[in-house]
């Protein structure tokens, strides 16, 4: 078997296995790096190697050197993969190795600072591309690392909703209860750190949002969370905008029902009877004016009351009289003035 799979962002997977050795499958991954400017040592970083070793080392083995044209080659032992839920967990971890390669690169940037970053006394911004057409910048300084996100949206409504969200993000981040979080700032114009970058990267309609990452935000277990939040910030904002639009739509539909009810009550009072909702012209009107159907309790009470009345009328009980009365003493029912029921 020799298959090539492609994912968005120019990610390529190569799966290969041979008939003579069906136990092992070779998986090679090629992914564009976050930054082309940061030089990497030959092969993959230490962080990526450690991540791979953490995924069941008896099943997954790192092959060095990697296949030609790929950054990483793994040998998977299919016979050792367990059945059931455990297998899906392992497969998920293998599938997320591509994200691990990129996040390890960002982790290296957040934790290391080199002299190559300075350019004429200013710290040179590093352009990172996690998702195509959505680059962001990282500026490394001795005291902190600043991540700057140029925001672009397709519709004006999205821009305004996102801008309102960024204002709230700034307000929440600057409050006393949230002192420990990275400082967040939004501006409609490019920040000074990005001066000198290409115009196509700096032309936006949603402004620029920046986070100041301090050393305490990248210590220990927080490093993974910080890296994950930064890499998925664009997706987070777009999801929030989408959910807000859905919320506005639901609310408008609910309000429409209430407004329409008022008008139809006004028109029904004039007519004096209930209006057929179909004639009103809107399929979304659920209840205008309707008489409620009697429920079981009401029916039971009516039945008991009728029985009491009957008992009051016939206090003396004669055995077999009921059948006699039903057969000989009932009044014939007339269904219409022009039709008569036949008497037995």
């Amino acid at each position: 078997m020799d298959q090539r799979l492609f994912e968005f962002g120019a990610v390529e997977y190569h799966i290969k296995s041979s008939a003579s050795d069906p136990q092992y499958v070779y998986l090679s991954i090629s992914t564009p790096l976050l930054s082309q400017e940061v030089s990497l040592a030959r092969g993959i970083s230490q962080g990526t190697a450690q991540t791979i070793k953490g995924i069941h080392s008896d099943m997954v083995e790192l092959i060095e050197p990697a296949a030609e044209g790929y950054q990483l080659t793994l040998r998977l032992d299919f016979y050792k993969i367990p059945q059931g839920k455990e297998s899906s967990k392992i497969i998920t971890e293998i599938a997320s190795i591509q994200a691990a390669i990129l996040s390890c690169q960002l982790k290296d940037m957040l934790t290391n600072v080199t002299s190559q970053d300075t350019s004429q006394g200013m710290y040179k911004p590093i352009k990172l591309v996690y998702h195509p057409r959505e680059p962001f910048f990282v500026v490394r300084q001795p005291e902190k690392t600043t991540a700057v996100f140029p925001m672009r949206f397709q519709e004006k409504t999205d821009v305004i909703i996102a801008t309102a969200f960024f204002q709230e993000l700034m307000d929440v981040g600057s409050s006393e209860a949230w002192v420990k979080v990275p400082l967040c700032a939004w501006s409609p114009i490019p920040p000074p750190e990005l001066r000198g970058e290409q115009m196509e990267d700096l032309s936006t309609n949603g402004g620029f949002i920046s986070f100041d990452i301090l050393p305490r935000h990248v210590k220990g277990k927080r490093l993974d969370k910080t890296v994950w939040n930064l890499l998925n910030f664009y997706a987070f904002v777009k999801y929030h905008v989408k959910c807000t639009r859905g919320f506005i739509q639901r609310r408008m539909r609910k309000r429409l029902d209430n407004l329409v009810k008022v008008l139809h009550v006004a028109s029904s009072e004039e007519d004096g009877y209930a209006i057929d909702p179909q004639a009103a012209g809107c399929g979304c009107i659920k209840s205008i004016i309707s008489v409620p159907k009697p429920n079981n309790t009401v029916r039971r009470r009516c039945r008991n009351f009728t029985r009491k009345i009957k008992r009051m009328r016939c206090p003396i009980k004669i055995q077999g009289f009921r059948r006699f009365r039903r057969r000989w003493l009932t009044v014939p029912k007339f269904s219409s003035p022009f039709k008569y029921t036949k008497l037995d």
Partner: protein
């Protein structure tokens, strides 16, 4: 309710009570046709002078009357961009479902956010004072709904921002 809003709505109500005296009038141009004259504006003798009631520069109401129809156009206040898009979205949403309201116009008059068209047939089917109550109540409800929508959007944004920043702690 603020004093200026109450005066504004009272003025609109009184004007509508005077203007909503409609009667059936067949079209003078085409035989066997019956059209709302306020829309066509072909015969000036059938039209009354339009009345413009302004609360301030941003809020106003235009009432155009004719012998058999009445058109009310409203301009709703929009303080910032968020209110602007919420108002546009909501009123466009209502206009696209105009058949549910019967008296609502599908497209607002130019320069206004929403328009109503009331004909003599509507006055025959519905009570006049109830119609006026509906229009005035609609204006109050729109203002209230836009304000609540804006507050809800900001509250959602705040909660989402707090959840995002919580992950850094």
């Amino acid at each position: 309710m603020a004093n200026s809003l109450r005066l504004y709505l009272t003025c609109i109500r009184n004007t509508l009570e005077a203007a909503m005296c409609l009667q059936n009038f067949p079209c003078q141009e085409v035989e066997r046709h019956n059209k709302p004259e306020v829309e066509l504006k072909t015969s000036p003798e059938l039209l009354l002078k339009p009345i413009l009631i302004c609360r301030n520069e941003a809020e106003k109401c235009l009432i155009e009357t004719s012998i058999n129809s009445l058109r009310i156009s409203l301009k709703v206040k929009q303080a910032d961009e968020l209110e602007n898009i919420l108002t546009k979205k909501f009123l466009r949403f209502l206009s696209m479902r105009a058949e549910a309201f019967q008296v609502l116009r599908r497209k607002p008059v130019q320069g206004y956010d929403i328009s109503f068209l009331i004909t003599n047939y509507h006055c025959e089917e519905m009570q006049k004072h109830k119609l006026i109550d509906f229009i005035v109540q609609f204006m109050e409800d729109i203002d209230k709904e836009i304000s609540e929508l804006k507050m809800s959007v900001n509250t959602r944004g705040r909660l989402v921002a707090a959840e995002f920043l919580k992950q850094f702690v």
